[in-house]
Amino acid sequence: MIETTASPLPALRLRPWLGIVATALAMLVSWMGLLWAPTDAVQGDVYRVIYVHVPAAWLAYLAFAVVFLASIGWLWTRRPWFDALAVSSAEIGVLFTGLAIVAGSIWAKPTWGVWWTWDPRLVTTAIMFGMYVGYLLLRGLSTDFERRATRAAVLGIIAVVDVPIVHLSVLYMNSVHQLPTVLRVGGDPSLDSQMGMTLGFSVIAFTFVYFALLAERMEIERRRQQRLLDVRA
């Protein structure tokens, strides 16, 4: 293992301006989502949950992809920075995945009458949640820094590979059984332009929130790693 917490990328002064921008965007999007965007003709105001659900789901997948890349990075370079990235993204990812599922359920109940349905993306998200939790559990049970990082990295890779397979399986299941599709979100051509803009801004805002949280969490992890390296030296 390389005995430094340093990042392989050029140093960027991300904190605190990233958090400030993220907060500002979040406030903007809250206003847009709750007040500015019009009420839906069919679904009423309950539809507004998609301004949380869709970005959260997008971030859940992004965070997972980052875990995958960070895992490869650790196995390849043995640089602690990659492990910090992996765990930070995983923790934020589990948060957003849970949020996406809850928001989705809140939307589904008044709209379709069910808390849950056999939709490829929902099922994949739920399983992804399970994998995140397992990932963090495995880390929690490991005692040694390097072993923990390696175990987590291997799991991170095999878990992410599974996600598209899960998605395809459920998709195939639905096509075989001809189940009624699918929560259509954002793919609806009749989406009002204001709604569309709000959704777009929402995704951007959430992305900034993700990176802001990531930066903070990585700094915490960097300090932990530094303490550890000092002890070992």
Binding site: M131, G134, S142, T150, R151, V154, I165, V166, S169, V176
Partner: protein, 222 residues
């Protein structure tokens, strides 16, 4: 081909040990049988007879049986550090993974055969497409060990390994469970094209994880 020979040696070793100490297989068989029995009891003859239900319960039982078997297998390896003898040898890590996958596939197949026959008899299942059923069963079984052995190796010296292996493995095996259950149900009900479609998915899953496992195992085992 030396690598294949080494894998086969490990597989043979595993099967020899299992034969001499069959407590793993015994536990797995008993467990699977009990699950099927309890299912028919709890659901009643009408619903238990339904191909979807019977398939689901069967494959869930096999999933747990697989975890039981691999747990016992690695417990045995850790006694007296037997695993170190292989890992210290050149090509040991790869052979260990491949050999265990092969052996475990064989043992799960035995459990599946017994539990399957038991299910068919007890639940009075109609088997419309026997050949398809066998094909789905074989591929469903083969799709399990690449994941379960890999997860066990990752968690080998982790505290509470016996609990964490299923927690990690089950989400990963969601496609296998889905495909095997749906394929079995299709074979029982006579839907040939669906059954074949699902076997395709199972085969791909087994292949992807077999290759991934072999690639990543040197990094995974210390």
């Amino acid at each position: 081909m030396r690598a294949l020979d080494r894998a086969l040696l490990v597989a043979r070793r595993e099967l020899d040990a299992e034969r001499r100490q069959p407590d793993g297989v015994a536990a797995a068989l008993t467990f699977a049988g009990l699950v099927v029995l309890l299912e028919s009891l709890a659901l009643g003859p009408g619903r238990a007879h339904d191909p979807d239900v019977a398939s689901a319960v069967f494959w869930i039982a096999i999933l747990f049986a697989a975890v039981l078997l691999v747990s016992r297998s690695f417990d045995r390896e850790l006694e007296d550090d037997a695993i170190d003898a292989i890992v210290a040898l050149e090509g040991g890590r790869d052979a260990l993974y491949a050999g265990k996958v092969l052996a475990l596939a064989a043992v799960i197949a035995i459990v599946a055969l017994a539990a399957g026959a038991f299910s068919i008899v007890l639940l009075d299942l109609d088997v419309r497409l026997a050949a398809h059923l066998v094909l789905v069963a074989i591929l469903g079984v083969v799709a399990l060990p690449p994941v379960v052995v890999l997860v066990s190796l990752i968690a080998l010296r982790v505290r509470a390994r016996v609990v964490i292996v299923p927690i990690l493995a089950f989400p990963l095996l969601a496609p296998q469970l889905l495909a095997a259950t749906a394929g079995t149900s299709a074979a029982l009900s006579g839907d040939a094209s669906a059954a074949l479609g699902w076997t395709g998915l199972l085969a791909s899953f087994a292949l992807v994880y077999g290759v991934l496992g072999l690639t990543i195992v040197p990094a995974a085992i210390e």
